[in-house]
């Protein structure tokens, strides 16, 4: 046994703008153990539910995370709608699905860029983020915001997408698909990229299951688990299958996410094709009473919303279990026996969102 050294990683680290701290116990260049510590960006958003009424909290829920903001808002609204027994119009369901899938596209593109940046491929990073801009422009045109949309409301959505805009979106998707295919080829076939991702950070199917990994992390290890198959929003009317891979290494996780991006484009096209006409919102009166669990699939994995209401304007409790929190044990498992130089890439492959995790 060699000498053991402890190297602190984060909370400020060039590879990751978000504050997570890891104490890496090294034996020479190999990581033996990693001890995580979070708690640097806690904002008390769950407690805020006592000070803001349940309609105002829609805007707070959206601000839990900057990347999957729409899905946080949607999870919260779905919980309240279920408690109040409100059935939202079909068109609103399809609009929600379109924005949710665009969010997935935008999140995965951002992740691809960060991954390329982590192994030092700057031009690939720029290329991914250039594509992401197109998605952000679609968001700005349809919702008014580039990151925080404020379109999801209890009882439906607040803004409709016009027919001409939907056709424009189809054009954007066609253009993006062509460019994404080029980048995907680099991520999957370039030998320098493969050297950094292939066989790095293997997570077996059993370990992924036992440690409760979620989302692309679990799917890359061969677990077919996708909350969208439950059929919330318009997913029950769309045709898709969860994308899985059996390898369980960083390369497989990249492959799963790339596959999900093409799938997201396909789902948006299906939504636009099947979109019904009609209202986008039902009027909600009164205050909610009861409790509800909602599970939905975010770009990073399954998010769990628990809402407890007491019949007044102010809710008793909102609890959010975010995917990154569930993926941290799996991350620690993959870090064992990897080399110090691979640590940034391994941390990135779970697509960490620490701000969500701490709320």
């Amino acid at each position: 046994m060699g000498n053991r050294t402890i190297v602190p990683f984060g909370p400020q680290h060039p590879v990751l703008p978000e504050p997570i701290h890891l104490d890496l116990v090294l034996e020479d260049e190999t990581v033996v153990e990693a001890v995580p510590r979070i708690g640097y960006v806690h904002r008390g958003l769950e407690k805020l539910v006592e000070k803001r009424d349940f309609q105002q909290y829609t805007y707070v829920a959206e601000r839990i995370c900057g990347i999957c903001s729409f899905m946080h808002g949607m999870g919260y609204c779905m919980s309240i709608e279920s408690i109040m027994g409100a059935e939202i119009p079909d068109r609103a369901k399809f609009l929600r699905t379109i924005w949710a899938e665009f969010s997935r596209l935008h999140s995965h593109l951002m992740w691809l860029g960060l991954l390329a940046d982590a192994f030092g491929f700057e031009s690939l990073f720029m290329q991914s983020w250039k594509l992401r801009e197109e998605v952000l422009d679609v968001f700005e045109e349809t919702t008014g915001g580039r990151v925080i949309f404020s379109v999801c409301d209890i009882g439906g959505v607040r803004k409709d997408i016009k027919k001409e805009t939907l056709e424009k979106i189809l054009g954007v998707l066609d253009r993006m698909e062509k460019e994404l295919t080029e980048i995907a080829g680099v991520f999957l076939n370039d030998s320098t990229v493969k050297l950094r991702t292939r066989g790095v950070g293997k997570l077996s199917k059993e370990a992924a299951f036992e440690l409760g990994a979620l989302g692309p992390m679990a799917r890359a290890s061969g677990i077919e688990m996708d909350m969208r198959t439950q059929g919330y929003a318009a997913y029950s009317q769309l045709d898709f299958k969860p994308i899985i891979d059996l390898e369980g290494d960083s390369y497989a996780r990249t492959k799963v996410r790339l596959g999900e991006m093409f799938q997201a484009m396909d789902l948006i096209r299906q939504c636009i094709g099947k979109m019904p006409e009609g209202d986008i919102k039902v009027k909600i009166t009164g205050s909610p009473k009861g409790e509800y669990f909602t599970r939905l699939e975010q770009p990073r994995g399954e998010v769990l919303y628990y809402v407890k209401a007491n019949g007044t304007k102010f809710l008793d409790r909102v609890r959010v279990r975010t995917p990154t929190f569930a993926n941290v044990p799996a991350l620690l498992e993959t870090l064992k026996n990897c080399s110090l130089a691979d640590v940034p890439i391994l941390i990135l492959t779970i697509d960490p969102c620490i701000s969500c995790t701490e709320r």
Binding site: Q56, Y59, I148, S150
Partner: protein, 121 residues
């Protein structure tokens, strides 16, 4: 050769020139729905205070006695909730952001009535 996979994209980019906008010379176009800042047509306002009560960040203050409506610009999150609940629809979302600033900025709008001019208040 798998090591040169990126070259096609790189050559295309070299010929294309920058994809970014040369900002101070050329400004980015906004869309109809772009949420920039909250504007008010103060003459239509009835000072009911609905926007003040509904604002998630308490950025808006309405004073009925002084017929004034004010907003803390840096506290506002541009969610647009006030524009929705306004019964007279005198609040609207403008496309442009407010000017950057170092301190807190409170924009005060005072309604001109027959008995009071803006300079007096």
């Amino acid at each position: 050769m798998s090591i040169l996979r990126m070259s096609k994209t790189l050559i295309k980019n070299l010929l294309h020139g920058p994809f970014t906008i040369a900002y101070p010379l050329k400004k980015k176009e906004t869309y109809e729905r772009t949420r920039g800042s909250i504007g008010i047509s103060i003459d239509d306002c009835i000072f009911c205070g609905m926007c003040e009560r509904r604002c998630p960040t308490n950025a808006i203050r309405v004073d009925k006695a002084r017929v004034s409506w004010s907003i803390e610009r840096l506290q506002c999150i541009q969610c647009g909730y006030c524009t929705e609940v306004c019964p007279k629809k005198c609040l609207d979302m403008e496309n442009q952001y407010t000017e950057p600033s170092f301190g807190t900025v409170r924009d005060v709008h005072i309604k001109c009535t027959n008995t009071q001019s803006p300079s007096e208040s």
